[in-house]
């Protein structure tokens, strides 16, 4: 199949050249499977096999693209796509900068993220995973929800500038298992991300669910008073905060357009706590990395924050072209963000709860519906969800109703950052609007931020 893909792209590039069309081709093939549960049944079991081809035509400073869902047997249809892109670019308007056409200087094949065992996982195995993850935990009131999403992604690129091709193939799985109360409307969650079948661990999810379930089923929930709390964020919350920072923090294009809380002159300056180390690290397979960007640049670990000092903005090629800066190898579908560890022991929720503490700690594992209130200040708002706990300093544990926090990222990751875990976790942030794009962030299992205000506190679930 790989050779057929490569040959098809070569044929298309040759066709474009024969028509005097300057073009870049982006081939995306997904074989996606999703088993979705709700109310303790499988509510949907689906698979989609889709091949997308994006053709970008260039004519000096003009650029236009044409995308199609197609099939490898439809070469004539794809050639018509080339004709369409070529016709569009004739009528496009010139940019006020010169867009870069990728030039691949060598053929690059990367299948290091592909695991045949995960790619071949069966419907029955997905179902068995769910059964093991919630074994003995469901009742008439406690219902299973969740997804087991897995698939294979193949990306291949060629341009008319050279005969060389870039080819990436990877496998991935994203699992989340939710147990919810049918009438009280609370939910607890356990999740995992996998790049290999051997990484699937339904027993670990079951342990986490059982621990949370014990509290949510038997403890009396409380409405927390508004005020300031020392908050421990779980890996999902940390991952979502970093994802937001990716949008309104260190992207060079966002900064230039006034959509970032980090100013151009803050490179080299202390922005966050000296405990904060963030790297874009494509050597971490857990992040489903791209080791070359789509312009052909090799990607190596790229420090973004070191000891809280901001090291560099990341630049997409198009932004780099527009603003006249050097690209940084970040023209990819997703980065490979890794937040460095700290020195706090405790890798699981059970261990966190058992750690001695001087103050009450509000544990927030998941931030729901985060949005940007003010990008220039890095101000975000979100609600807690899925199994928050108030860990009292006397060692007891209270189940709180959900709360809202409206805080700036500099406040969260600045001087109030108390500690980060020694152990890292992988949080899968994949979304599947459009083509499959498996994405994960590696973060400490927990981190604590002191003295953060909660601005709303629910009186019920």
């Amino acid at each position: 199949m790989k050779e057929r893909i490569l040959q098809t792209l070569r044929d298309l590039a040759a066709y474009a050249l024969s028509k005097n069309v300057e073009a870049a081709f982006f081939y995306h093939e997904e074989d996606s499977f999703l088993m979705r549960c709700a109310n303790s049944s499988i509510s949907l079991n689906t698979n989609e096999h889709l091949i997308r081809l994006e053709i970008t035509a260039f004519e000096d400073r003009k650029r236009a693209s044409y995308e199609m869902i197609t099939g490898l047997s439809k070469l004539d249809e794809m050639k018509q796509g080339v004709d369409s892109a070529a016709e569009m670019v004739k009528h496009a308007q010139p940019l006020n900068y010169q867009p870069t056409v990728p030039v691949y200087t060598e053929t690059y094949i990367d299948e290091s993220c592909f695991d045949p065992a995960l790619a071949g996982i069966s419907n029955e195995e997905r179902l068995e995973y769910f059964n093991q993850a919630v074994a003995g935990l469901e009742t008439d009131e406690i219902k299973l929800s969740g997804i087991f999403s897995s698939g294979v992604n193949t990306i291949a690129q060629i341009t008319t500038r050279s005969e060389h091709i870039q080819y990436f193939k990877g496998s991935d799985a994203q699992v989340n298992v939710v147990l919810s109360h049918g009438t009280l409307k609370w939910e607890v969650i356990a999740e995992q991300s996998a790049q290999k079948k051997a990484e699937l661990r339904p027993s670990a999810l079951r342990r986490n669910l059982a621990f949370l379930l014990e509290r949510y089923q038997h403890d009396t929930p409380q409405q927390l008073p508004l005020g300031r709390y020392d908050i421990v964020f779980g890996s999902a919350a940390i991952g979502d905060l970093l994802d937001m920072m990716n949008d309104i923090g260190f992207g060079g294009g966002s900064m230039k357009r006034g959509f970032s809380f980090i100013a151009e002159d803050q490179v080299g300056r202390q922005v966050f706590s000296n405990k904060f180390n963030l790297t874009d690290d494509p050597t971490r397979l857990e992040t489903f990395p791209f080791k070359r960007d789509f312009m052909g640049m090799p990607r190596e670990p790229f420090p973004i924050f070191e000891n809280g000092v901001f090291k560099s903005f990341t630049w997409l090629q198009d932004d780099a072209d527009e603003f006249g800066v050097a690209p940084t190898g970040h023209t990819v579908m997703h980065k490979s963000l890794v937040l460095g560890c700290g020195d706090k022991e405790g890798a699981t929720l059970e261990e966190l709860v058992l750690l001695p503490r001087e103050n009450d700690l509000l544990y927030i594992p998941f931030l729901h519906y985060m949005n940007i209130v003010n990008p220039s200040k890095g101000l975000i708002t979100a609600s807690s969800r899925f199994g928050a706990l108030l860990l009292k300093k006397d060692g007891s544990v209270v189940v709180p109703y959900n709360v809202r926090i409206t805080q700036s990222l500099p406040d969260i990751f600045g001087d109030r950052l108390a500690w980060l875990s020694q152990v890292q976790a992988v949080y899968n942030t994949s979304m599947s609007y459009g083509g499959r794009n498996p994405t994960s962030i590696v973060v400490p299992a927990f981190l604590q931020v002191n003295d953060l205000e909660i601005s709303h506190s629910n009186s019920t679930y």
Partner: protein, 484 residues
């Protein structure tokens, strides 16, 4: 092709499927143009075709989709296989509410197909807008047009055959500027829907020209404005934010699949319980909301949903009382069974999929608030002692059961003793859904009522985006916390 699909449907029925449907998209096209600071950053078109198969077997769904229709038999078999496995974990077998077998077609009303308009003409339109926005104070200017065209042929094992041809046009423009502290502020414009059609002809250059001047002027006012005060005031929501308030806290909250827990692993649930229908005072008596899929010019109108159920106009909230939901054939049956009584007499025709390769789920149609009898915006302002007028959707965040929310808007105008005083920046408001709607104290008349489009409502796993509309008047809510 239709005959081949019908043959496969019959084959699966013979193999034990209790229900089968297929959505064949001979063609779906989009055209997306973005001009940013005069640069045509995006000039993109797309085209796709394919078929999606949904099979009900022993009370469980299976789904399969492909752009390759060369081996339909294998595709249908795969959908049945998926359903067979799903049937191994069924607690309550799925049943579908009854419907008529329908042979029909729907064509969205258009005078000019946007795909027949030359690219140069579209770019000229954007360029003219861009030049109008290129004024002092404006740091970033973005003009965008999205065009969609879908041909969908729906067939099911109950004998329905429906063809839909739908065209949508989504234009918008936005300006951004930096205040003296380097903070970014924006103002945007998307035209409300008017007239009876939804093609290229709806792009009114005069309307865009007038509003280009307005949004630049208002953004410059925001750049030098004081910050929104913290406190409790009446909030007067203009349609540019009222549409989103309605979307997030009435529309999503009343999707029956959310209410029944089918989105708990992802988008969340709803505070609404089945026992609330007919009894919950969702809002004050001034609140009447409906799901109206019959507005001719809105993307929330599509003729027939992807269950093959005709579009309808249904009450959701009647003078404050919760009476209806956004429903599909499956969820109606399940809700009635769980409640032990008939809450919903039939599907409201709101089951839609974003593409051939996604399964239909409950989606909003046009979730509207009826106009009221409290006069014009001026009338509402004059009767407001201490308030703030808010417009422009800057940020929105909603609790997982849609029970509480926090919104930020592009602009605010303070109101003191019935008069508009000054513009404020960084305006926000928050509240709890039921408390908020019960504080609804004024609803503007027809002169304030506008239909706003949503071009990308996200929901579901695998994720889907959907297009819909909201017809809303100016509304005033009392005792609302602002400025946080």
């Amino acid at each position: 092709m239709i005959k081949k699909i019908q043959k496969q449907i019959e084959h699966l029925k013979a193999a034990g499927a209790s229900y089968v449907d297929a959505r064949w998209y001979p063609v779906e096209e989009t055209n997306h143009l973005v001009m940013w600071n005069g640069n045509l950053k995006t000039a993109a078109s797309s085209r796709e075709s394919g078929v999606g198969i949904r099979v009900l077997y022993k009370g469980a769904w299976g789904f399969s989709a492909s752009s390759d229709v060369g081996n339909l038999g294998a595709l249908f078999e795969k959908a049945l296989d998926n359903a067979r496995v799903a049937a191994e974990r069924v607690t309550v077998p799925i049943r579908l509410a009854g419907k008529e077998s329908i042979q029909a077609s729907f064509n969205s009303p258009n005078r000019i197909d946007p795909f027949s308009v030359p690219l140069t003409e579209k770019i000229a339109f954007l360029k003219e807008l861009d030049e109008k926005l290129n004024r002092p104070g404006v740091d970033q200017r973005v003009c965008e047009m999205i065009f969609m065209r879908k041909q969908i042929i729906y067939l099911d094992s109950e004998g329905s055959e429906i063809e839909k041809n739908i065209i949508e046009v989504f234009p918008s423009m936005q300006v951004m500027g930096l205040d003296s502290r380097g903070e970014s502020h924006s103002r945007k414009f998307s035209p409300p829907l008017s007239g009876a059609t939804r093609g290229w002809e709806t792009l009114d250059p005069h309307l865009f020209s007038e509003n280009a001047g307005r949004i630049v002027r208002e953004m410059n006012q925001v750049l030098v404005a004081e910050a929104c005060p913290k406190g409790v005031r009446s909030v007067i929501l203009l349609p540019g934010i009222m549409y989103l308030q309605t979307h997030e806290t009435i529309g999503h909250a009343l999707e029956l699949d959310r209410i029944l827990g089918y989105e708990l692993a992802y988008a969340g649930g709803s505070f609404v319980k089945l026992s609330d229908f007919g009894s919950l005072a969702y809002g004050s008596p001034k609140l009447t909301a409906r799901a109206d899929a019959t507005l001719p010019n809105s993307p929330g109108s599509f003729g027939y949903d992807d269950d093959g159920v005709p579009a309808q106009d249904n009450l959701l909230i009647d003078k404050g009382l919760l009476v209806g939901a956004i429903t599909s054939r499956q969820m109606v049956e399940e809700a009635n069974a769980r409640a032990g009584k008939t809450i919903f007499s039939n599907s409201s025709g709101a089951n839609r999929a974003t593409a051939f390769y996604r399964v239909p789920i409950e989606r909003m149609t046009n979730i509207n608030i009826d106009p009221g009898s409290d006069g014009t915006l001026d009338d509402i302002v004059k009767s407001t002692e201490k308030g703030i007028i808010l417009d422009g959707d800057k940020s929105w965040s909603i609790g997982s059961n849609r029970e509480q929310f926090h919104f930020a808007t592009d602009i605010g105008w303070l109101v003191e003793d019935g008069n508009i005083t000054n513009v404020v920046k960084n305006s926000t408001y928050k509240g709890e859904t039921v408390t908020f709607y019960n504080s609804l104290s004024s609803v503007g008349d027809q002169s304030t009522w506008e239909v706003r489009c949503v071009d990308s409502c996200g929901k579901g796993q695998p994720n889907q985006i959907m297009q819909l509309g909201h017809g809303v008047p100016v509304c005033r809510f009392d005792n609302v916390t602002i400025g946080e």
